[in-house]
Symmetry: C4
Subunit: 223 residues, 4 copies
């Protein structure tokens, strides 16, 4: 796979992920009649099911990161050349914003709109740290022991994490930035994104270090 | 597999798909007490679960298209002989109407009844375009990289797309036509079907072209 | 596997299936606060998830029929010796009643109690005929093309069929008889069981004949 | 795998399991607006999905028991050396309490708080006995016939057992002890834990004996 094709896959996959997350959030909030549990059930199921499809279809192309925290962790483990980190992250962020605009178009909203949803404080940051720690742990553990099952493990983990973290588990810096551009169910106030992203990177670093020991991942370069 | 057997599989599979979509829609609306989110949750889960079973059982016989947009895309990629396109589409449409009648029979409704459910406008068309683009993308990507997992990828995608598109993701011209013949939860006004079908074909064509490049699908004839 | 072990597996598996169906029905009705859609969602998910586990664990022992309609269809196809049909059905029915008693014990109900839930009429019978036709079709199709995936195909099908049939898809004579012995969510009036069972056998016979042609199943004896 | 690494996996996996169970219980109760069925649906889906990820990622390291009843059953079957039983159970219990604290931190609760949720009486004990019997049966049956599918079988079973048992299926002594330390949705009064644990061990012993006969598990030592 050439780098151009892999970047196209990362951009397109992240865009579709955001379309799923934001679009299903809008639909869920509109239909749920005020019951947030029902809305979050729909949002979590749509996201998990969407991830199954997206990782199965793009995994063999680009690795299906769709997530700067995953890209950084993979590079740290020597599974991605360092020079590809920046392009990966760039297209993930661009794709994420495109996905938000695509979702807004489907529901008749303006292309972008700043969120006013407050998500801050120690509980939220601890939630994002745990959520991203777990995500990296799932990817490292499953891709080592049962690589063919990784799409299902990741999708199941995120479905679960929507419910067991107080922040509903963003666990992804690109997703976090793009969700600041939607004033709907999935939104986050732009001012709150740095706290989320720092917590995510801390969790990702802790998992990469700990599971590097637990699984004794050999360091290698390239793919 | 002879063509007769494959056409029987396409007809029967599309009929069962419509029985699932329309039947579960009726049941969901009757039981949900006016909460549309709960009804759509049930409808989405029933459709996704039904697709797992249908694609697993018919995939090895006919390819389990159940969908003219998929048949056209496969033919364009050279995976289906051109002379089989028309018979495939014909039995899909006939099967779809038979499935609606089967569902109506189970719930004590008249065999057919024209829907009055308005589904039109740019947001709906964009939704159908995105939905079908994604469906073809999932099929092309997964059948290339992880063919044994395609039934799960497609079912998961449709479950998700019921929620992340404003149109609840018909993504299938045969399904669209047949759902015009049910004045229940899943219905669409007959006058609105051309817009849906055009949007679906546009999305399917875009995905076939783009992923043909991304995956560099070799062109071949026959199966 | 000796016949004794296979019969033990059929008895135990059918008992666990009924414990799942009846137990989750009681729990769902008690908690759902009168919203039948939510109760049926829980009942359908519990049944589908339970079937995944039960078929995975017992499939290699006895075939995991848990269902006289399946046993008769397998025997007709030459996959089960004729002399084993009666013992299979006998332990399935006995196990089914034991499972109802086990569920009642968990929820503090009398061991058995006759249901007063009316389930009769042409729509219900047509529903059971379609439901069992589909179940046999899924088993025959999937076990031929993708045998390792049969547990998931059957479980997904039943989850879907709870919603797309007006009868919530009993699709199993042993289950039907035992559910007459519970005056809870899952019950059926004893007088209504013959109609259900006849419809189920008709659907099973139609599927066995049709898919025997479609898949050209070779006739053989033994397993 | 050294014992230290396996114990780390058991501790971390059990901690993450409790974070999922307790965290999703808190979130579900807060959002469900008093409808316990919706809360339990979310709690069951989060737990089942979480188990898929946790068993896939840790299964190849430590066996992914996360449960003293499983560890004892494995040792009885000769699949785990007797000298490793105590360390396994110790880290499972310690991990379980750490997981409760992690969940409480995410939701702004005190690290630990004694539950006042009464769960006692014959129906509850019979429920736990059945639940654990079934869990051990699923593990023994599936790991013998379809080992690669065990993560899915166990997760599906627990999702189902949340609904078909009156106790919502703790089925795990370490989980039971740690859930006494949370005064939230998932809690159990400390005084009620011995009854649960005795019932769980009885069910596990019965399953190990019965399925040892059914599957004629050969006795061996070590792994």
């Amino acid at each position: 796979m050439t780098l151009a094709r892999r970047l196209a896959a990362e951009a397109l996959g992240t865009a579709m992920l955001l379309a799923v997350v934001v679009g299903s959030g809008i639909m869920a909030e509109r239909l749920a009649g005020g019951n947030v549990a029902i809305a979050l059930l729909a949002n979590a199921l749509a996201t998990g099911a969407g991830l199954v499809a997206l990782i199965l279809m793009f995994g063999a192309v680009s690795g299906a990161h769709f997530n700067p925290a995953v890209t950084l962790s993979e590079a740290w483990q020597g599974k991605l050349p360092g020079r590809e980190v920046a392009p990966y992250i760039l297209v993930q962020v661009a794709g994420a914003f495109a996905g938000v605009a695509a979702a807004h178009g489907m529901f008749g909203e303006a292309l972008f709109s700043a969120s006013e949803h407050v998500r801050t404080g120690a509980s939220q940051w601890w939630s994002e740290c745990v959520a991203t720690f777990g995500l990296i742990a799932v990817i490292m553990g499953c891709s080592r022991a049962r690589p063919a099952m990784t799409p299902f493990a990741v999708a199941a983990y995120i479905t679960s994490a929507y419910w067991f973290t107080a922040s509903t588990s963003f666990a992804n810096p690109a997703v976090t930035l793009a969700r600041a551009a939607t004033s709907t169910f999935a939104g986050i106030r732009p001012a709150d994104t740095p706290g989320f992203i720092l917590a995510q990177l801390a969790g990702a670093a802790a998992a990469t270090a700990l599971f590097g020991w637990l699984y004794r991942t050999p360091v290698s370069s390239g793919k």
